[in-house]
Symmetry: C3
Subunit: 259 residues, 3 copies
């Protein structure tokens, strides 16, 4: 399997497109991850807006260059608003990212709603191993929003999901894997503390939407986001010890990547 | 046009009043900015409460010394709760700040609701250039919550809004401008990274409410908040490189301003 | 009165159990404190999920090892969802923590709802002095979410509440006090800046739920959380000046406590 990294020319070029186009990226997400997600987007050069405020759900998905939907956002917005954002994005031709947080963790109604969004054809689906194994029909159960499986366990599942949905599918873990159902690449690196910073995975989904909004095809957009995130995490990890400073340094390093 | 700064005696005196009175400041805001807004208020010596929990909307605006309303908070609370807070603040004589996030960005129903709050007579209205040009009836469109215009482009608009509403109006940008419709002052300084920290503008609106709550008149209160913010941002900018550490240092420097 | 601290063997042992069991902890909380609360839980080795998303409220309280309910979360979720989480936790035998934020601050309907949750028998109740004096039937009024009384003023009230409810009750302040109605211990230390970091108290309630989830009895679990928090706050305080860096260092030091 091919390995990709921040050192690769095509990754840096795809990343630079975000800063060059300053795309407007709109998302529905949960309020735990919303602040970090917006700061990650601002750090990499995108202009984020978040939330189902009034008719934003009907207007922003069409005006945005990319959209992300993190279904844990159901904690403060209605299913209707999620469906409207997904449907409007599809109708407007705005590429969008689905982040099915905690799918497969035991909440059957929630899981069913998450799966109903697949009909609006996300360009990228991202999650952790437990979530993607569950989304692929497997039995692995998450523990709340945490995974109990490793990313390498999910490679078969992500290929299946990609084939079934037409989306690029990316799983986060010690090594990230990204596939369009035919080509699968590995993104090594990062830092184990990414699993101890709340919203770090959710923010990666937002980042992938920014990479799409900058004009990258889904397979490249996912690679750009994952490889840049891994590089920033490594740099952040090298200069911090605990998880508090690591989280701050992660945003910091993302904002300095383009320099 | 007169320039004001943190070096000015009347600004420092107006700021010191916050620490001396520890005012209770209540706000409705969006969940992206809520954490930073509360930390900014605590840093400058105020006691914040945020959110439309149960009958807080009917009781806290009257008990508070100042209120701020950030309309992007419609993402998790009803229009009724926003109207109730604005109406109750006006009825109780509690001065309040309106922050019309993303007005003019293309969501017509949202925009109409934002404008409906003007009937409850905010003491201060703050925003970025695109928002205030749109609120003043101009055609400039924002890109989500980001501005596509510079603050100097909005000086005419803020004077018009001040005359029409009786509020003090403040626009954030490379230079901030504040007007009561007759006197207009400029607040230079700050740091360009303020536009790359989510909620930095929203938190400035909260800060202005704290300055009101400490007993400052609206024109002074807005100046106190903007000038202190600019000074803290400059100090934070001088000791950090990326946006992650800048955001932390901004709160840090605000908490150290009084010392 | 006995004083306990992070130096005590039984405290360290109770804390180590969290890292050893990595318990799933589920909470409903307010969106101001949600991010910090999740990061505190991840720092100490627990796996958090937060929010009333779809049927999470019916399924997660049973699957979790511990639950916490911060009633300020009513700002974005319904009373029904709070009641459902409390009732489901009790029915499943999942120990849970009640954090009655701002009770007694003047919002009578809110206060009545908070008290209605006592029927589901929380294992631990935590708050600041004003909140617990009010919960115990006293007249002391908070100023929004801030206390106007000192923790030592609340010792009588927490003993009364413990006797009346069967819960362990903990009050935060310059010295924290924890009681089961019979035994009362004091936890000195910490840092005054804890009162200037939004959500610091809320996150301590989440931490107590993690200590419960790791199998500690309520009286020990509350001591573990409060003593570890005080130690981390002292270490964070020793290496920072302002409130921004202190907040980051607090999470950092919690993540390094086990090392």
């Amino acid at each position: 399997m091919q390995e990709i990294s921040w050192q690769d020319e095509h990754i840096r070029k795809g990343f630079a497109a975000i800063g060059q186009t300053s795309p407007f990226v709109y998302g529905l997400t949960n309020y735990i991850a919303a602040n970090l997600s917006a700061n990650v987007l601002l750090a990499v050069g995108a202009g984020p807006a978040i939330g189902a405020a009034s008719d934003w759900t009907r207007t922003f998905p069409a005006g945005a260059g990319g959209v992300w939907i993190n279904t844990a956002g159901l904690m403060s917005s209605s299913e209707e608003s999620f469906t409207e954002v997904a449907r409007t994005a599809q109708a407007a031709g705005t590429p969008w990212v689905l982040d099915p947080v905690a799918v497969g963790a035991g909440a059957a109604e929630y899981d069913a709603f998450v799966k109903s969004l697949l009909q609006y054809r996300p360009s990228i689906i991202r999650g952790n191993a437990s979530e993607l194994i569950a989304l692929g029909g497997g039995a692995a159960l998450g523990k709340g929003v945490e995974t109990t499986a490793s990313s390498s366990d999910a490679v078969g599942a992500i290929v299946e999901i990609a084939k079934a949905t037409g989306a690029v599918v990316a799983v986060s873990g010690p090594v990230d894997y990204i596939t369009d159902g035919t080509t699968t690449v590995a993104v090594p690196g990062g830092d184990a503390r990414l699993t101890r910073v709340t919203g770090a995975g959710c923010s990666l989904g937002a980042f992938a939407a920014a990479a799409l909004a900058a004009g990258n095809e889904p397979l490249l957009a996912a690679q750009v986001a994952h490889a840049a995130y891994a590089a920033a995490a490594e740099r952040a990890g090298a200069r911090t010890k605990g998880t508090g400073e690591f989280a701050v340094a992660l945003v910091d390093e993302l904002s300095l990547l383009s320099a």
